[in-house]
Symmetry: D4
Subunit: 250 residues, 8 copies
């Protein structure tokens, strides 16, 4: 039921073809969902500053390029982000959109057009080890494209607690902190105990043996003895940054 | 947005107070879900013959009695079913509703008022062992209250295949078959291979050790080599009968 | 013990060579299973409209072609379906049977000869995301070859509930609905709540991390709060369509 | 190394007993942690409005009463919260502190003294079913004691999506939403898709069989197709409210 | 189709009422399974020396007594065995059948009537620790009632390998060995390496923590580096003895 | 402590150099294990007819050839068996030992020299599906090299129970039966119920999704409702045949 | 083969009754394990200072008292330790052995007779939370009875890292550290990073939900990013202290 | 806060610019962690004899060479160890550092400069099978580079217990024993029972099917009935040697 149908209905009521009661009846039998314009408008506001996102894994370079180009054309002021992207996928995009950039550590293709600041504070992205950096960098790229001031602090795992403590003031200045950690996934608990802001924990699949592809880190984070920690899926740097960006919204 | 609001809107259009275009705008900004009357009506038809259901586990006898009585009063022609019910819960119900019956094997309290036949064929409920019978009986009670002709065949596990084969004609006459089995959960595969109708498999928590509370049976059924088998949750005799009843609908 | 043996036995009784009692004794010591003709006949009827099926994964193109050709020759009026088939496997088949077709999305090789309608209503195949489409398309191909009217509705995941609601009337017109979903596997519950027909849920291995190759979706579907949902194995689009076709049989 | 020790060190430098270089050396060999006063002060500010919390499970009524009284005396302006508390534990507390209240649904003992508003927006606490209400109520009690405006919306599971949609405006007005759900745990995904604010998902141990004590809901939520969802431990209503309160801080 | 029906059929053929061809047709449409007399006879021989068995867990004393008495009456020469039986269940049986005995360690009620020796060699039942003895004793009781010479060797876990080696000659004299072990379940591998006969391994639920109710022992035994080890379910002393008795049959 | 050392000790006693008491002392402090000759002799008898075995997976063709040749030379009358062998590994062996044969289905390299019959009855090897045949063939090859009469029966899965029943007499003639099955692993239970001999069940990794690489079949078999079933590791056709051969020993 | 048998053998050699060669032959056919005296002597030395230990769980008070008394009598200088002991079990012991003591937090009955110091350094036992103290106290009691200097440090979980750092000098003075932690089990990693001695980690079953009875802590510890951490079973305070005592041996 | 800042502070106190009380205040507000010099010194001592370590898996040859060279230059007297290294990675290192060696079995690149003996006793490294040798060799290489006397004993699995017992004296001479085992992981328990020193158990991922990538061995070792066994992660030969070296320190 689009606007035309609705307008026609009202015209029929106006012209007397249809009594108000008949109109109510007819309206009741129409699929109500098509009336949801307000919802879309409402969402449009909410989505301000949100990037358009492509999950590239399992797609061909051609497919990624096609979707990327389509989104860039139809959301002409939005940022575009392709996550889990390989360099070949970027190359295919770059032939179409010269301003697209590739961030190899983050495995992300970005088209950064809207550079307004939507977040009110700083988002800090931390990693326990160097192997967790790709996940952390995906978070960094995402948070930047969502209009946040982003800082990072890498390789500050709990087995060398002094490296972490040396940066306590950086932690204290952040509005929300993303912590990426594999293996035992203990860093979010320690960080959570040092700060009074929300910590979004990202288990990574870093590790071997009883790490079980990130399961050990995931369970550790869910059982954190720090109460300000919540958790997203294994390796989901994008999701963590998305949540953090919403927390950081003005 | 109830009917009065809608009617008022149309009256304003009719009287010229509001142009059709203005009315469209106003309609767009109203919460659309309140228009969903058709949906409710539609559902009312669908729900014909469906019992009202209470999951009794974890509720006090008083709570069960209160909900049961409430449902019996507000759905005055419907059947009422309380599953996973203990005898004390039934006693509490019986003091209020004398026609309520207790089926101890099924652990079900039933108020059977609508005795019309909604199903077109017969539903056969099978159990592999005697310990699976409570789950099977829950299915029987549910299917009966949903207006089906129900038959059962118990203790026909695969280690005594001749007991099963002796009843092949009964299997052949059923429109849909529910198979309850614990331990290795193999019966649905054998039954599935003997018939050309849908088999709804119910893993039960019967067994010990590596049965892992029904997990072994569940995995077995999901991997059935018979293609006509689908599966519901462990011990979910009610759900199996609900699905089977919908399959059996005229 | 084939028909000849049996006939000979009766002739000997007729001619007086064998007393009825002796015949009973002799019959008792014969392997009873060879008497199962009725069963085969009976099954032949049941199998009307059922395709012959090959699971292609792990087979060489030559093997698939050989089995396909064999089935096509021995079941000359049946449809033939090879699931999980790669394009090379199709090529090997096509050199033998020119009418065989390849459906790349469904990864299926089909020989569609029997085009009669065996199902009485429509089967709707839904997918939550675009990555679930291969599984959904396997279901579509299977259901079509089994003589059903099939419709599909893709990319209507629960995080965008309005896309789903916009098609509620399509849902309402279906006799049985197949829902393919990975990740959290929530779509069958929502769909189940909107309709009064059986929903066959197919968890897919779409997702990463804590999706655990489809386990998360599987568990979600088994615990559906909608009572009209039953579940098949992960990625088993074929099985879901098989069950749905039997439900839909006239 | 307390203030006196430090002061003495500086006096020795001032008096010339110790050269600055010697003082640096001496300082280096002192346990550095005792200097962390600033940290404590800093934390004191952060902790403003935070309740003191007791996890009551596994503690005797006497133990709970003792700790409760101790905390109430030493944090004389703070709110005190005992979670997972049974009525007997409350009774023991109440004999000591008459203003303590018991919230049976939430299984919480509360001493609500600081009634300032620390949160800037509203926190909405939702539950999928009625069985999830105890977890939701724990979240409500916690969020209230942490100085938030709290609203709730219960029994709006995804199998009856219209009940949820009927309250969309309530969702739209919240700064952060807590969603408690057991069984398939699908509600956070649907809610997440309807709003543009952070959703904190709490899997509950509600369900049976393949719910595996909340594992199914947990995995479902971690794999949510909505990007604004993060997750806390099973049944951890307190933790969800703690995170939500920090998000909601002015 | 019992003997009378068959006999009648042959009489009709003899008398000319029915032609042999008609008889073949009629036979084909009868349920074939009822012809399986040979099978039953055959099985009767196989079952010689097999006890009748009741799994007592979850049954009331009255139920156990009823079934026990029934089996004792209908299999008047067979041994009767009730496993997982509590003393109250025995008491109920004993009031009916005075010759029934209770073996508390084995938690078994036995009626030992057929004392013939069906096994040709000795069965040795071993336990790794003292906590595994109940499972081992269930095996001993079962093997004895199945007509075997049974010996046992308890508390010879692998952490004290000399205790085991001191009895190597006993091992060498056995035709088949049952090994019950919890915790790491290592004993079957060591025993398997010392002998040239089949070893039936029974994981027990003895242990705590990462023993996971017998899972650790189960996995250990399935991965035994000794090739002569096969495994039964956790705590299944009965099944192990059943298999061992069949191996030991003359 | 080899024979020479021992002999020297006794000569010293004989010659009076050492008193018997001193000799006992000296003996006590020698490593006792080296005295285990009897054990080796004993084992030599036990090992009669046992093949020498190489697990080829993860070894280079050169390595397999080297070990194979070494074993063939040092156990000149024994059969040699290399399991999990690829064709390249066979080629490397064949250049050294022309009589070695390759059995591609079984993925086995065999050198069959000792053709005596060590087993007293027949071993029947069954498979549920065609995909289970490689595991079954490994069992066949192993059992043959261990001196058994071996028969096989393939593709008799439980969803087509009549195919299995048609061969019941073959089952009845076997002394021990090996059953290989993937997916739900139900065949051993059905077979176990039809015979009175030990059934050795081999779960295979055949299947997908919730088959979890053979876990579903494994759990199914461990929970078999037939008491004469014991289980070996997933895909362990060799181990099953080894156990079966020991059961079948004269 | 005891000393007498051996002595007799040598006497026969000495007297010429037996040639050395015959003696070698005879020796070869004796069960070699009975010669293992040296082993026992050797072990006696090793076991100096080791307590005799009873695992009390699942034993009646009478049984514990009986074993305790027996061990106390036969190992008259050793310490006796009963772990996982309830107060009633202690009461039964105390009536027999008045010097036995009960340590309720550790759930241990101790008879401390040998008070020599066998360890060379100090063992530090740490707990992350107060709920982990029972496991920690079991370790303390065990380590004390094994002759070690033992210190403890409780409630120093990683979410309050300053509490831990305040005690760094205590950590630095220990020869080996036992760390007991439930929930995410992160403490051993942090401790491991602060010290240069072995850390024995004990996961505890403290926690709920996704703690899965200690599994989360166990996995965390196994994946520790600190290289000096090894792990024992969940709740195994005794085992940790046993290992630590051996590390600490002079 | 580095030394200069501190020195300046003291100079200001000395010169009277700052009163001691003001200095205390200022110190309190500085980040305390920068004062941790003592800690570093302390650690420097602890780290004596510790190799610098690179985990090579997932790094390019160039990356490994770069880090290796960097560490070799900055820790000029330390040993350098790259674990999980492929030959190409070694080749890249060797072009820079000619003295680096490759140990292919251990998959380790070593630069062995500090050849002092830091351990007081011998470390024995054992493997159950030949497939476990790579993990064992990683332990050997690590222990050697950490200044220990190292011995090894391979292929002494528990199914051939005599091979193990033949080397009991070697076991008796070791200060700490590392045991690497896959499949059922039973060797540590047997070894633990034979010695009175700590046993560090390393589960390996050797095995197939129900070995579940080392999980079976891991669980087995955690449940060891020998009390002197602690466990590290699957395949973690490095970690085991690290722990063993600390145990073995003088």
């Amino acid at each position: 039921m689009n606007a035309d149908t609705l307008r026609k209905l009202f015209h029929e009521v106006r012209s007397g073809k249809l009594s108000p009661d008949e109109a109510v009846q007819r309206l009741r039998h129409l699929p109500f969902e098509d009336l949801g314009f307000a919802k879309l408008d409402h969402h449009r506001a909410l989505r301000q500053g949100m990037p358009e996102v492509i999950f590239s894994e399992g797609k061909s370079p051609t497919q990624v390029a096609k979707i990327f180009t389509h989104l860039a054309a139809h959301h002409e002021r939005s940022n575009i982000l392709a996550t889990r992207a390989a360099e070949e996928q970027y190359n295919a995009v770059a032939t179409q959109i010269s301003k697209a950039e590739y961030r190899p550590l983050a495995r992300a293709i970005t088209l950064h057009r809207d550079r307004r600041r939507y977040g009110k504070g700083a988002i800090l992205v931390m990693s326990a080890g160097t192997s967790d950096i790709p996940v952390a960098e995906e978070a960094v790229a995402t948070a930047e494209l969502m209009g946040n001031q982003v800082q990072h602090l890498y390789d500050v795992g709990v087995a060398g607690i002094h490296r972490l403590l040396a940066h306590k003031s950086l932690l204290a200045k952040s509005r929300v902190i993303i912590v990426c950690a594999g293996m035992e996934g203990a860093l979010p608990s320690v960080v959570g105990g040092l700060v009074g802001v929300p910590v979004v924990a990202v288990p990574t699949s870093v590790g071997y043996g009883a790490a079980f592809e990130g399961l050990a880190a995931l369970l550790g984070m869910l059982n954190s003895c720090a109460s300000n920690v919540s958790v997203v899926n294994i390796d989901n740097g994008f999701g963590a940054a998305y949540v953090a960006s919403l927390i950081n919204r003005k």
